[in-house]
Subunit: 584 residues, 2 copies
Amino acid sequence: MRIGVWADKARLMEAAQGKRRCDLSIENIQLVNTITGEIYPAGVDVLDGIIVRVRDKGEDSPESLKIIDGEGRYLLPGLIDTHLHIESTMMIPSQFAQAVAPWGTTTIIADPHEIANIMGIDGVHFMLDDSKDTPVRQFFLAPSCVPASPAVESGGAQFGPNEISRLLDTPRILGLGELMNYRQICNQQPRMMDIIAEGAKRGAFLQGHAPKLVGADLAAYILAGPVSDHECRSTEECLEKVRLGMHVNLKASSLSNHLQASLNGVKNHRWKDNVSLCTDDVHAATIFESGHLNRVIRMAIEYGADPLDAYRFATYNAAREYGFSDLGAIAPGFVADLQLLDNLDGGCPYLVILEGKEVAREGRCLIQPANNERHFVNTIKLPPLSVSDFMLKVPEEDVETFTIHSKELGPFNGGCYEEIPVKDGYLYIEDDPDLAIMHVFNRYGKNNSAAAPIRNFGIIKGAVASTIAHDCHNLMTISRNPEDALIAVKALQQSGGGIAVAADGKLLAHLSLPVAGLMSDAPLGILVEEIRKTEKAVSELCSGSTLLKMATFALSALPGAILTDQGIIIDSAEEFTPLFRKKH
Amino acid sequence: MRIGVWADKARLMEAAQGKRRCDLSIENIQLVNTITGEIYPAGVDVLDGIIVRVRDKGEDSPESLKIIDGEGRYLLPGLIDTHLHIESTMMIPSQFAQAVAPWGTTTIIADPHEIANIMGIDGVHFMLDDSKDTPVRQFFLAPSCVPASPAVESGGAQFGPNEISRLLDTPRILGLGELMNYRQICNQQPRMMDIIAEGAKRGAFLQGHAPKLVGADLAAYILAGPVSDHECRSTEECLEKVRLGMHVNLKASSLSNHLQASLNGVKNHRWKDNVSLCTDDVHAATIFESGHLNRVIRMAIEYGADPLDAYRFATYNAAREYGFSDLGAIAPGFVADLQLLDNLDGGCPYLVILEGKEVAREGRCLIQPANNERHFVNTIKLPPLSVSDFMLKVPEEDVETFTIHSKELGPFNGGCYEEIPVKDGYLYIEDDPDLAIMHVFNRYGKNNSAAAPIRNFGIIKGAVASTIAHDCHNLMTISRNPEDALIAVKALQQSGGGIAVAADGKLLAHLSLPVAGLMSDAPLGILVEEIRKTEKAVSELCSGSTLLKMATFALSALPGAILTDQGIIIDSAEEFTPLFRKKH
């Protein structure tokens, strides 16, 4: 697939031959050749956003309209993030582009899977619209598992083969987003196989997601179609996947970091073509303070990757994974997505160029953000709630309650039945400092909710409420105190969503994410300040917990114990684990 | 592009999970992983021609219908030849497959450019038909330059955008064959740009051919569309091309060997993804005695390539060049094209498997050749010829004659005007042992011919005649004696073409190539015997010349001095260099 389809071949050829003036020449640089692995002095000429020449040091520079003196810096292709959810940054696509362009990111492939679970196809179109004409080239994938488990959860939309087909025929949608229902796929569940067939018959990209899947089932999963994985949790898992031909997207998100372990599965291989980098879920504060994909490069280098390898993962290899034949290298015919860097260390580039135009310099975006219309600012539909709705009623005497164990106990949330004291017909947790009550309220007008006790989340008192609750993004609360839970929820209802923290009858912090209850359209600085304040409140109230930790407790695609708006499920089962059972 | 489109996903998945019996398991092997560069013990399971599992050493083997004990040998993917002309092997495709399958070749991409110049689209369809159901997967490219220089030569066909369009829409034709008119392309000649446009609009593969092209013109050539080159003649040329993103097909043909020089341009690079191997023009005797693509691997290793790199060039890299996503590696979902090897040294494999079926063992093909109908056995259309037609008449007195200098003098044939004695109105060469007369007769009924003296070809006496004369494949003779030339030509007229050698009034050798005057349908053993006999006669008569050397003297796409059926051209010019000029 060629990206630079706008270019007129004849003009480019004439420019290469000196018969036509170039738009841009970059002189005095050390070219990092992502094809051969060499670094050498060169000059680069650009017309119509396309590289037309890479000149030897000795050759005279042409009289281009603009000439940039690279002052001896490294010139590299722009970075390509192979998998992320823009929604997780808490920014809308136009603001996201403003935030990541200065870090050298020029192309992303996003799965708009969060907003799709809330707003359906309209949500995906919002992402497409809001990402137009930004300083980052934004591609999307059709969210393949909306919702992950229709039998046991409900969100704002359901995608079957028809919806997927509509999306796949939409420009800038490259294929199927992470096929995370790997168990259903291994079992040839008709819904998932039909969705895959829509992608396969178009020759579209089929993105995988298969944590801890190995052996015969991994082979079956690969045979079903998915070509990539970004969920490796160990060296062995990463090694097996890359050996079997999967594209391995090494990630360092704000939620998890298995980068070192997975990198160890590939970094010493003779050939590493199928290795790229991704961010998956990073929020605005991480981007603001530490960077975007360059942060993953920096971490990979710290974990022992050769810097040239790390940059290749994020450029040439990423482009090849998606079949972009004119991205990821600096050569005639390639799109002029470029960055000038002082060092090959994952730092912030001095200059970032998209399609031959300067978009960021010394950490600042040079492009004004579009002033787009506000969308989806009123997405929380709940019944009237009172304090008792945040308590957990026990139906009869002599029961044990299924308690979810937060993941400090293992790689995924565990759980087991235990006897919890009861007072006035409700679970009584006050004397057990490790316990809290978790609620998931359907926020799409269905009027249902589910609850379970949770052990070890770390919450001391008060409550946290959030409309970020993967993947259906229902309203989730974790509380020691039901009054505080109600305060937090009311704050979210007023703002349109986000994360709220309350204790001792007071609202302590409130991160307002009005767009679909997931994203803000505020300028980055303001958003990051709100995030930091809320993060601080969360970590003070819930020792050891980060802002987005609770967002995964409803993620039905994950192994372990999960709470949806309908009940508890374990290991992505399509049936519920009863909250109560008769005492033995 | 997926090759294994025949496979049913559900069956494969079930086989991977042990729910369905596999056709084949291969045990006790050292798997050479062309993705990672590792070698490790494994077992491989195949169903319906597709690999469904690569098992760890420890895992039990399933009860497959057939089990092969690899006896500890290396298991690798089959070899892929990225560029060749089957016609140059002198075998028809069905016989060619018989000859190369035992050497481990499982896929080829051939440019049927020779027969296209003779028989047009019908010729291409003959190659498509005759290559069906053979032990090698045969793809083709649409010959892009038929003929190379329509203004200055004539063959049996002319391809414009319409003919190219028809071919590109034909199954098993992957793109445009070598775009060797690089000068015309750099100058945006409408005919070539229109032909390229037919390929580009289909996203088809555009194969390049640009010997010695560097700098601004090379950039323009790349911008025009061609993505590969197999014509590197020096280390510097190869380095420049690979740096600029071209796929470099390193070759060792029967005609030329720049493998060492071009390999030196890439072998020490950190990344070598864009390097593959090809044979271009090898004849049957080379294949019979030394091998096919494995011969290039062997030579590359001798020239310092790491054996793992060399095998990767010929498998994984080749597959990626053409966008075959399921060839070139051993992993679930890949087509089961495999070879078992005792050593990684370019030797003959112990066993060759195509789509899960054994096709060759210990150097012998296990598949019976098809008994196809004979085609194109009467393609020489000449006017009646007499002895004087093989002499060179001088039109007036006091002229100098343009004399082609055979390439011992430089990388390509040179030439200059010189004074040559005249006797009875004809050039008189008898007293100058370095001189001979070269003729090219149109053999497609056009009744025209051209001639020039040739210096340094090495011919002592007699004559050589050939219907192999790139690319129009007119009838070419090089003679010291016109009577012998007539004898040789008459032999070719009788057999339907080939190469004939005569001296002292006698036919010394006659390699009969009845199919289009280029190929034999005789069994390999008989053909090779004839080739050897003729080769011996040629080298005895023409010191230092090989069988196919004269075939390039009419190749208008080559730099240097060339003789077509219409006259002399230099450096692919579209105008003739006069044979005679007035003495200064």
